[in-house]
């Protein structure tokens, strides 16, 4: 029997902080098969493509961190099969940045196969600038939720 979980609108999700390094960015890109220089791994390419003075992290790294935030909150057994996240990338994340992901529950709605728990998600850097914002959701099976009265 699964442990009962309950979700309330307004509930804060425990935050998650990531300290970005060029090595982490390089490994992320390498894992996807990228071999040549890119705006993520090479300063000259970033300068020529984006006009920036540093490399930047792929938005997909932030997407992955948001996925981790929500997986930790909902549990891998549920989130990895019924979760989603949708992020807008607002500012660059660079090597040396410390980025904190946070969120809160915005809705709990019954669906045919459980309850859809919706959340808002934000990411901010060490300066307090928002680097990404969006939403996430997970359909939690009814069997995981407290019995209705």
């Amino acid at each position: 029997m699964a442990i009962a979980r309950s979700y309330k609108v307004g509930e804060q999700i425990p935050s998650l902080t990531k300290n970005m390094t060029q090595d982490a960015i390089n490994r992320f890109e390498k894992s996807g098969g990228a071999t040549g220089p890119s705006q993520f791994t090479d300063l000259d390419t970033a300068r020529n493509t984006l006009g920036t003075t540093s490399t930047v992290a792929s938005g997909r790294m932030s997407l992955t961190f948001a996925t981790e935030l929500l997986r930790r909150y909902f549990g891998a057994d549920v989130y990895n099969g019924r979760g989603m996240v949708d992020l807008r990338f607002l500012r660059p994340v660079r090597p040396g940045d410390s980025v904190t992901f946070s969120g809160k529950v915005t809705g709990v709605v019954k669906e045919a196969n459980g309850c859809r728990v919706s959340v808002e998600v934000n990411a901010s850097n060490q300066k307090g600038d928002v680097t990404a914002a969006g939403t996430g959701a997970c359909v939690v099976p009814s069997g995981y939720l407290p019995a209705e009265e």
Binding site: A24, R27, S31, Q39, T49, G51, G59, L63, G83, D86
Partner: protein, 139 residues
């Protein structure tokens, strides 16, 4: 300046058709890819290394070349974590395109399925096709 790649055509945003199917992509997810991905995202339990494969835009680049892009928005739906050693097949298509504040965006969507027919994930990405415009704000 658009980089030329053999066998691809320069993106004509006006002519791009919503719904255009992109070439099927197929690859084997190795344990090394998984390990490298988990090290990169600093999460030993990260279950979807398919995220770093960028499987929605890779098929696009088999057809088109352009001036580069910046990821403006990305959505990811989890269905089943991929299993190392399994072959993954990706179907991708042009899901949408739009212009906002004088900038052109394209939206690609892709679905990954493994060799056993397990639906793995769905990714939807909005890419800004004038990357230097964003760079000006990012100084």
């Amino acid at each position: 300046m658009a980089q030329r790649h053999e066998g691809t055509k320069l993106l004509d945003w006006e002519a791009l058709k919503i719904g255009e199917q992109l070439p099927t992509l197929s690859y084997v997810l190795t344990q090394e890819m998984v390990d490298e991905f988990r090290a990169g995202v600093m999460d030993p339990e990260a279950a979807f290394p398919t995220i770093s494969q960028k499987v929605d835009v890779r098929p696009y680049h088999l057809v088109y070349h352009d001036d580069g892009s910046v990821n403006a928005r990305c959505a990811f739906h989890c269905y089943n974590p991929p299993v190392p050693g399994k072959r993954i097949t990706v179907q991708a298509w042009i899901a949408d395109k739009y212009a906002r504040r004088g900038k052109n965006y394209i939206v690609t969507e892709a679905v990954s399925v493994d060799e056993d027919g397990r639906l793995l994930d769905r990714v939807i990405t909005h890419e800004l096709k004038q990357p230097s415009e964003v760079g000006k704000k990012w100084q």
